[in-house]
Amino acid sequence: MFKYMFARGEDIPSGSAAIYFGFSSIVWFVIGTGLGSFNASKLAFPDMVTGNEWFAFGHMRQVHVHAVIFGWISMAFAMAMMYITPALGNTKLWSEKLGVWNCFLWNLGLTLGLTVLWAGITSGREYSDFPWFIDLYIAAFMAIPLGINVWMTIIKRRTQGIYTTNWFFAAAVFMVIIVFLVGNSPEFFHLTGLTEGYLTWWFAHNVLGLWITPVAAAIAYYTIPKVTGNPLYSHRIGHLHFWSVVVFYSTPAAHHLMSAPLPEWLKSFASVEGVLILVPAIAFVSNLLLTMQGKWYMFVENLEVRFTITGVLMAIPLNMQGGFQQTRAINWYIHGTGWIVAHAHLALLGFSTFLEAAAVYFGLQTIMRRKLYSLTLGNVHFWMLLIGFTIYWVSMTIAGLIQGAGKIYEVPYIDVVIAEHPYMIARWIGGTMVFTGNILWLINMWLTAREGTVVPSGRMPHELAYER
């Protein structure tokens, strides 16, 4: 990487930035899920590693969250943007050098930010925990350079139209910069009180709704048609998806605070808009599943398609939960319980991660022109992720329902803790499976780069037989 940071632009091979982003994202995924697994063990066995602030739950929980959001998910997004945007514009990335620098600065900033968080230095606001100097760094050196590269690549494209995926990329990277700067404004301008509390959740909602969800979906809009060879079922449904994300997904921030003292009109408005999230969700899922027509065998045989379609299928329970759990009728029962933790993992570890994993698998193979080293390891990774996640999701959902019942029947809290203990152990086992699977993935990708079968130009990696 360092040799390309100071090379002339034309000397940097196309796709370098995507490769660096891809491998960085996998490394952060290993770190992030490792921390998650360790945190989960502390909830099951609180005395395991103790008496040291560096291994205290309260110091590590936010590091896990930010390592997976800013490290794994967002860097996988950046990786996908670095190779998909130019591919869809029939051109090269606008600046490969900017991309390489972006990747370096991203890793540097994230390392710094997570170290600061680990020490307990925080803004004290969930999801926008980074102190303001890290926020400014993220905006200036991570998000904006990525945006510039994406927008310029689209502007310099050599095709007539702009494909669905690229609308999403261009819009989402714009929206996340706005969301990031507005959402962190309480720190920049010392805003206090309910405004600050509301903006915390305005940020948390919109970073998911206007960044993670649309970019993950955009990746699937590329992967499925590309790998299966089927054209996208309907561009009109793609339009419906795009516009309903912009209009409906950007408004229900207050539904995260349904039982907090906010103005009632705001909560009611947010709740209605929250149900309308089903519009983009149904548009997306149906569009992708219909694109699979005639190619369903690839769901079984092809790793990238299997990852993507599994993620798409997980969007169904995800959005059914998401659309309705925030209404007053349901929210009073499950608010603040493990149910929400399960839901958040269904969004990030289920839906979104599976789509990104497919993009990273596919992208690294096509850019490096190397066939995946071991399909078996890839399959093991898939099943470790899916089974580990399912154990996690089921156990946390049950734990959440227990907590909800404990809450409304006024059970002494310690009895809820005792009842949840087996599910905390299950959660830890599930998380550890995901972590182990990711280590295998890193090894597999590393060996792919070193020893994978060379893919001739013009061929897709999955069209080749393994030769070893």
Binding site: K42, L43, P46, T50, G51, A56, F57, G58, R61, Q62, G120, I121, T122, S123, G124, R125, E126, P131, W132, I154, I155, K156, R158, T159, G161, W167, I178, E187, H190, L191, T192, G193, L194, E196, G197, T200, W202, W243, V246, S250, A253, A254, L257, A260, P261, L262, P263, A270, W332, G336, T337, G338, I340, V341, K407, I408, E410, Y413, I414, H421
Partner: protein, 317 residues
């Protein structure tokens, strides 16, 4: 190529995003801004000082630059007992003032007017330090709380107060909130009884005006442990808190809370070095049934981080 064939789309995008920003940012902010501060909000901001998350006054989050909440029993000028003891908030010279003093408009229009005309808050000086209290006045027939600058109205200086106050009446609530945020207590303990069903167990949910001037609000979202907004009313035992923070399993065998023994620092109240290794060995023997009683929890030092944290938790009434 640019975006020119997407002119309509780009404009529609701008209009839709701007409208949603207007509805979700501007309208709620105007609404929330009009809410007047309650007694609780004034207490929270005067006790916690300017802001608790990362800031340049306390970059390592050590609990610096924070006011003291003092239960005043004697008149600081005459040292005679007051009719009723009252809480005052002592900002030693150089301590940053909270949002309500710097920007009275955040208190709500009436509260701001009372604080300025009757409370003389505009006379308070950070360089000299000040003593504040919550007083009550009437506007248009409504009794409302306001901030009174006792340094201006009564001539009480921070030094006067600390001279007559006993150490047990001094609460490091602000520094304790720093510990609460830094140690991540709010990842499991919410500060937000829910409006629907928490009344019986965790007490009344907060009201709209209970937050003016507070930062961060640290509601918490993922409740893995009891809500703490009114914990000081349920349990006011300092000894229980001490044992529970040192090792929660001492008082609640099934607790999954981490041990916070590292907040004791190196020495105990008498200045002796705390032998954590010995304590853990003895606790393990107790845990395994080789001892009848657990080892004693060391008394914390007067200026230890755990004292701040316990002061904060007990202040949550």
């Amino acid at each position: 190529m640019a975006f020119r064939e997407y002119k309509i789309g780009a404009r529609m995008f701008g209009i839709s995003l701007a409208s949603s920003m207007f509805i979700t940012l501007v309208m709620p902010t105007l609404d929330i801004r009009a809410v007047g501060a309650t007694d609780i909000a004034l207490d929270k901001q005067l006790a916690a000082g300017r802001e608790t998350g990362f800031n340049l006054d306390d970059p390592l989050m050590m609990g610096r630059n924070k006011p003291l909440k003092v239960l005043l029993r004697n008149d600081p000028k005459t040292n005679t007992p007051l009719d009723t003891p009252r809480y005052v908030y002592v900002f030693n010279a150089g301590t940053s003032f909270p949002s309500g003093i710097l920007h009275p408009v955040t208190l709500g229009a009436d509260q701001a007017q009372l604080s300025e005309t009757q409370g003389n808050i505009s006379l308070a000086s950070k360089a000299a330090g000040a003593v504040f209290a919550i007083s009550h006045g009437t506007v248009n027939g409504h009794e409302l709380p306001y901030i009174e600058n006792l340094t201006a109205t009564k001539g009480w200086t921070p030094a006067d107060i600390l001279l007559v106050a006993k150490d047990e009446d001094v609460s490091h609530v602000g520094a304790g909130k720093t510990m609460f945020v830094r140690e991540g207590c709010w990842w499991c303990h919410t500060l937000l009884p829910e409006e629907t069903q928490d009344w019986q167990v965790f007490g009344a949910p907060p009201a709209l005006g209970d937050f003016n001037g507070e930062s961060p609000t640290a509601f918490g979202s993922d409740r893995k442990a009891p809500d703490l907004l009114h914990v000081g009313s349920r349990n006011s035992s300092r000894e229980w808190m001490m044992m529970h923070f040192f090792n929660p399993r001492l008082v609640q065998p099934h607790s999954i809370m981490p041990r916070f023994d590292y907040l004791w620092g190196d020495v105990d109240a008498k200045g002796n070095k705390i032998d954590f290794a010995k304590w853990r060995t003895e606790y393990l023997e107790y845990h395994d049934g080789k001892r009848v009683t657990p080892p004693d929890v060391p008394e914390y030092a007067k200026d230890s981080e755990i004292r701040y944290l316990i002061d904060f938790v007990l202040s949550l009434k």
